[in-house]
Assembly symmetry: C2
Homo-oligomer: 383 residues x 2
């Protein structure tokens, strides 16, 4: 049910001819109220697509009535005409739905630097507006897919309210944010300031800790809309926890569908001086191509883990570090421990546990291995 699981929302996904491969490529998610609180976080890449520039202004007042999305083109580095397409999309949707363009977020995903055909987008939005329904969430989740092999949706139930969501993203998965489009909806009554706080807390420990290929997108956007249609005002901590679990669920779906990957790798860093340092260490390992290629080859090459840690400025003594892989401690105090041969990496799931033996802080980073298929998918002129 995706973004239409929560009461007060309608959605649709239609085919507008934007994707060379065909299929659904324009989506609309509309909040019918009674409340219109919203929050959003955006890529920290300084090269930002036109829809990001637009949406950052639109979210400013914490009110959003609709989100217009398209795949088949990122509308990034497409010149003044590109910004006009984004602007026209919001104006067009506003006119059809009789709402304010300034309350509409726009999201685009696809190839950078290719013009987005305005007529097709606007015609797609018209068709999507006509198709809006309270069961349209699944179509919407399919319409935002690019190289994703399947749609990513989630539904979670709180005390008298629901949170639903959809996500796309399979490449350019990296922190701040993990290169994706995500729309989350809830029928809880939550003021925009609280939504914003909860969303930032949730993304910090979920999407921001997914680093599939170290490449940060120009189009990342995670939005949440609250309709209040359930009539329930949740206890803030409960809502924040449920929102975090929704984000974690979607982040794990993104990881599992990362382009060409054959392993999901969970890098757990413990014994760090601070949570920030644990994140830095985990990220450095997650971005080490030699380590990632070794995991692809089912090789528990802990030397590459230590070499990656050594490139950070986190507090640690290389000769105090322990490294375990799938439960086997292969390195103790910076020296060989149990045999690599005991480590079984033949499954998709890999757990790397790094104990820096310095403090009490910890963090976990999710990543993928570096595979032939990753190279293949990203060397073709298609994404």
């Amino acid at each position: 049910m995706s973004v239409t699981a929560a009461a007060g929302f309608e959605a649709a996904g239609v085919e507008a001819g934007l994707k060379a491969s065909g299929g659904l490529d324009v989506a609309l998610v509309v909040n019918r109220g009674p409340r219109f609180d919203a929050a959003a976080v955006f890529t920290s890449n300084r090269a930002q697509a036109h829809p990001i520039i637009w949406s950052k202004q639109a979210i400013d007042d914490g009110v959003v009535t609709a989100i217009a999305l398209n795949s088949g083109g990122a509308n990034c580095f497409t010149g003044p005409q590109g910004f006009y397409v984004t602007h026209a999309t919001a104006e067009h949707v506003a006119e059809i739905l009789d709402i304010s363009a300034g309350d509409i977020l726009v999201c685009s995903t696809g190839l950078i630097g290719e013009p987005l055909p305005q007529e097709k987008v606007l015609a797609g939005m018209t068709a999507a507006a006509t198709a809006l329904s309270t069961t349209g969430g699944d179509d919407a989740s399919r319409a935002i897919m690019t190289t994703d092999s399947k749609p990513k949706t989630v539904t979670a139930t709180g005390t008298g309210y629901t949170i639903g969501g959809m996500a796309k993203g399979a490449g350019m998965l990296a922190p701040g944010l993990a290169t994706m489009l995500v729309v989350i909806t809830t029928d809880a009554a939550v003021a925009s300031a609280e939504l914003d706080r909860a969303l930032r807390d949730a993304t910090r420990v979920s999407f921001d800790r997914l680093d599939s290929d170290g490449c940060m997108s120009t189009n990342d956007q995670v939005s949440v809309m609250a309709s209040g249609a359930s009539g329930v005002t949740p206890e803030p901590q409960e809502f924040a926890a449920l929102l975090t679990s929704v984000c974690n669920d979607l982040a794990e779906q993104l990881q599992a569908d990362a382009e060409g990957s054959s392993h999901e790798i969970r890098i757990e860093v413990v014994g760090a001086l601070s949570e920030d340092e644990a994140v830095v260490v985990g990220r450095s390992v997650a971005r080490n191509n030699l380590f990632k290629a070794a995991i692809f080859g089912n090789d528990p090459n802990w030397g590459r883990v230590l070499a990656a840690i050594g490139t950070t400025d986190a507090a640690f003594d290389p000769y105090a570090v322990d490294v375990s892989m799938n439960g086997v401690r292969v390195c103790h105090a910076g020296a060989p421990d149990r045999s690599r041969d005991e480590v079984d990496l033949t499954g998709r799931s890999v757990h790397v546990l790094i104990d820096l033996a310095t403090g009490d802080a910890e963090a976990t980073i999710l990543t993928n291995d570096l595979t032939h298929d990753y190279v293949h998918e990203n060397s073709a002129y298609s994404s």
Copy 2:
């Protein structure tokens, strides 16, 4: 002639049984004087191998009489026994050659975390000392190879003196330094302080700007020894320039032999606010897996270049940047310019020119593409 091109040096390369694949794996380079000035720079990885820890102490007084090298094992994270092997190697060579162990540098390369068999190393050093000759440079350059497909050597002639060198390195090629072992010799008379200055200046603009796969080694070491055997004291600027050209020549040989690569990519960043910022931008592009995979596929995907620039904190306006590939300006002022179809990337050599349009500083980073063969070579449990 490699390290024995310059007068005053003897070298040898022998087979000691350290490499599973067989072949030469122990090398010795000896300075016969009359002068023994030396300088060295080391990896900036904080996880450092035992030979690095040893050599950093040995170079402290600027005097080196011999360098003992082995492939077939990095002797890194091998516990107290590992440091003892390094120590014993220097003591053993010192005894055979009747020199001081404190004047001997030790270099190791190969797999991290595997014990280096002491008896084989010492027996190899004995054999190498016996085989020392003024024509042994080529054997020495072969004995330090790991996944290199060929030895890397260089000879350059100054005004009455010679500089020669050898290098190994094909993976873990990244900045500070570019993950390698390099030995440079000269028969010029150059005091160690001047050697040190010249070497740091040279590596800063050569090896430090080679970033093949973003992975920094634990064993990098670049050493230079000056015998003074030519009787010539060169003009400092001429010597520095010649040393830089020697380092650049070896850096380009390393780039051309990078594991599994099918393109040599020269990323030239101009119009930067400072040289440091130009380096940061070039490095960010050089480390972007999506960009590197695109080049493998002969795809001039400039959007990925801009996305990589956007992750840095260098001064630039995304909508002022120009990007050219092999002479075709595909992006002007952050928008599409000439057609991608005009760009020919079928050759090995790729020139990416990025104009940040912000200042007058520039820098060039050398890198490689991300290929199936890179993944293959580094997923096998062998390096």
